[in-house]
């Protein structure tokens, strides 16, 4: 067993990405592959999973107590990082990336390292688009907003249906709200290319290292933290994915 004590990092810079999303840049970097995540220890509050938006940063949306604390940190504050964890994306050939909301976080390093040809970025509204400017320099970027305030008016799946030749991509990397990802998986499946999809899943995580079992998915009992978080479409097509998940106590709840 390797020592996995949290590495304490100091926040160097806090970048406002959107009204609810901030990037925290640390004083140290981690040896990540795109799609890796970490467990972020917010002292006195909790430890929560977060994707790496770069080797030295996380990008956090405020949704509850831990994320509220994270998004109110200022330079000089310290947090603990365990990781990098997980398998990460393994793209090959022509790559399409599809992100919804902060789902863009694990996909962003993939674009930064030049792996992504086309990027579909969705958000509720224009001001909530994360990394849009950077991504337009790095990829052929297509934007979708639920309210039409920027790009395509509707969901990312609408862009897929109207503007994308799915079969021309060898790998489709996806991260976002589960129902969005489910919609994409259905389309890949209909096109007979579920295996080209790489989906970064979210499940309730406690240990992050494949021991506690809180993040396992039915029916194979795979651990999202260790066997994932990235799964191919054919791995999850006949699973709980898109239907239910489990909360902190292990009780099922609809997604």
């Amino acid at each position: 067993m390797r020592d996995g004590m949290p590495v304490v990092v100091t926040v160097r810079e806090v970048i406002d990405e959107t009204p609810t999303v901030k990037t925290l840049r640390f004083d140290s970097e981690f040896a990540i592959r795109p799609g890796h995540f970490c467990m972020v220890w917010v002292p006195g509050i909790d430890e929560v999973p977060m994707g790496f938006s770069s080797p030295g940063s996380i990008t956090v949306q405020k949704v509850g107590e831990a994320t509220a604390a994270l998004t109110s940190l200022t330079p000089g504050d310290r947090i603990g990082i365990r990781g990098p964890f997980g398998n990460g994306f393994t793209p090959n050939g022509r790559v399409l990336a599809i992100a919804g909301g902060v789902g863009v976080v694990p996909l962003y390093p993939l674009a930064v390292n030049g792996s992504v040809d086309t990027f579909i970025l969705g958000a509720r509204t224009g001001t909530e688009l994360v990394f849009a400017r950077e991504l337009s320099d790095l990829t052929d970027l297509k934007i979708a907003t639920d309210d039409g305030t920027a790009g395509y008016h509707g969901f990312v799946t609408g862009v897929m249906d109207s503007e994308i030749d799915l079969l021309s991509y060898d790998t489709i990397c996806v991260c976002g709200p589960e129902m969005m990802m489910k919609g994409i998986l259905d389309r890949l499946s209909d096109a007979g290319i579920a295996d080209r999809g790489q989906f970064s899943l979210h499940r309730y995580m406690k240990c992050g290292v494949g021991v506690c079992g809180s993040c396992t998915i039915d029916p194979e009992g795979l651990c999202v933290c260790r066997d994932g978080p990235v799964f191919t479409g054919d791995q999850i097509i006949n699973s709980e994915f898109g239907t239910y998940a489990r909360d902190a106590s292990g009780q099922r709840k609809r997604v």
């Binding site: 304490v8 240990c207 396992t216 292990g250």
Partner: protein
């Protein structure tokens, strides 16, 4: 190395496919996860400990790997009665339901939900980091006996899991035996903690917890050895087992079978890995080595 003959295994009334059992709380939160461990070679599985009401567990960090072990304070997260449907696809399998509670009646109530479903019960009288549960009860012989009696009354195999964090584990084992336990499981995690010197605070959300894995193997072995002298029901050795040699050593100390938890961290197929090395057609019968180090 000495190997075992693969044969019928029955411990404390539960029939197992081999001597290697998944320990409570490790990849045991869902039916699917338990099934996976079975497919990956576990001869039997123990579920996450189930309590009278759903619990979310302690705030994180909940588990930290160390060199040589894992330190955790999960705080007994569990879905309570909602765990029942998880076991639907596992009927007939050697699934032992781990139970915790704050009173004998609570133990009995939880057991009643699984009466027709579980191959047996395991009483968690030993979790070292849940106020009022686990070891808080498990260090009191009268309580141990009362809780055991309550669950043993169902007439199903009743394993009692002990804490090493007591002055005399033998007296606790005897209390469980008197209460009708069909086997003892030793041990749960050892009280422990770590501090982040950079943040000047304990690293677990709950401040302290328990340690498992190779670091506690010599401690667990000693508990099994002591219980073998103090009690007469079968003992299941648990704590730091991660190889066929460890399994043999536990059995020589007095264990009829072993439970394995933390070793899944290094190898999620650890059961198969161990079984491949442990058994051979010209192995010795388990009965020949169980407790042989007491000779």
């Amino acid at each position: 190395m000495i190997t075992l003959l693969k044969d019928q295994v029955s411990v404390g009334g539960v029939d197992l496919d081999n001597h290697l059992i998944l320990a409570a709380g490790v990849l045991g939160t869902t039916g699917a996860s338990l099934s996976r461990m079975r497919r990956q070679g576990a001869g039997g599985v123990v579920t996450k400990s189930i309590g009278p009401v759903p619990k979310e567990g302690h705030a994180g960090p909940c588990l930290i790997p160390l060199a040589g072990g894992l330190i955790n304070a999960m705080g007994l997260p569990n879905p309570s009665r909602n765990f029942v449907p998880e076991l639907e696809t596992l009927s007939g399998e050697p699934v032992v339901v781990s139970i915790f509670g704050g009173t004998p009646a609570e133990f009995g109530e939880v057991a009643s939900w699984f009466e027709g479903i579980a191959a047996g019960f395991e009483l968690n009288l030993s979790c070292p980091h849940a106020e009022g549960y686990g070891a808080a009860i498990g260090s009191n012989p009268a309580m141990v006996r009362a809780c055991t009696e309550e669950v043993a009354a169902f007439g199903r195999p009743t394993w009692v899991k002990l804490t090493p964090n007591v002055t005399d584990i033998g007296s606790i084992g005897r209390a469980a035996e008197e209460g009708g336990a069909t086997a003892l499981v030793a041990i749960n995690t050892v009280r422990a903690m770590r501090i982040s010197i950079d943040l000047r605070r304990p690293v677990l959300g709950n401040r302290f917890g328990g340690i498992s894995g190779p670091m506690i193997f010599p401690i667990a072995l000693r508990c099994v050895y002591d219980l073998y002298e103090a009690c007469s029901i079968p003992i299941i050795g648990c704590g730091g087992v991660s190889s066929a040699a460890d399994t043999i050593e536990m059995m020589m100390a007095g264990a009829s079978a072993v439970q394995i938890g933390s070793a899944v961290y290094d190898d999620s197929s650890v059961f198969k890995t161990i079984a491949d090395e442990l058994y051979s057609p010209d192995g010795v019968p388990a009965a020949e080595i169980v407790g042989c180090a007491h000779a």
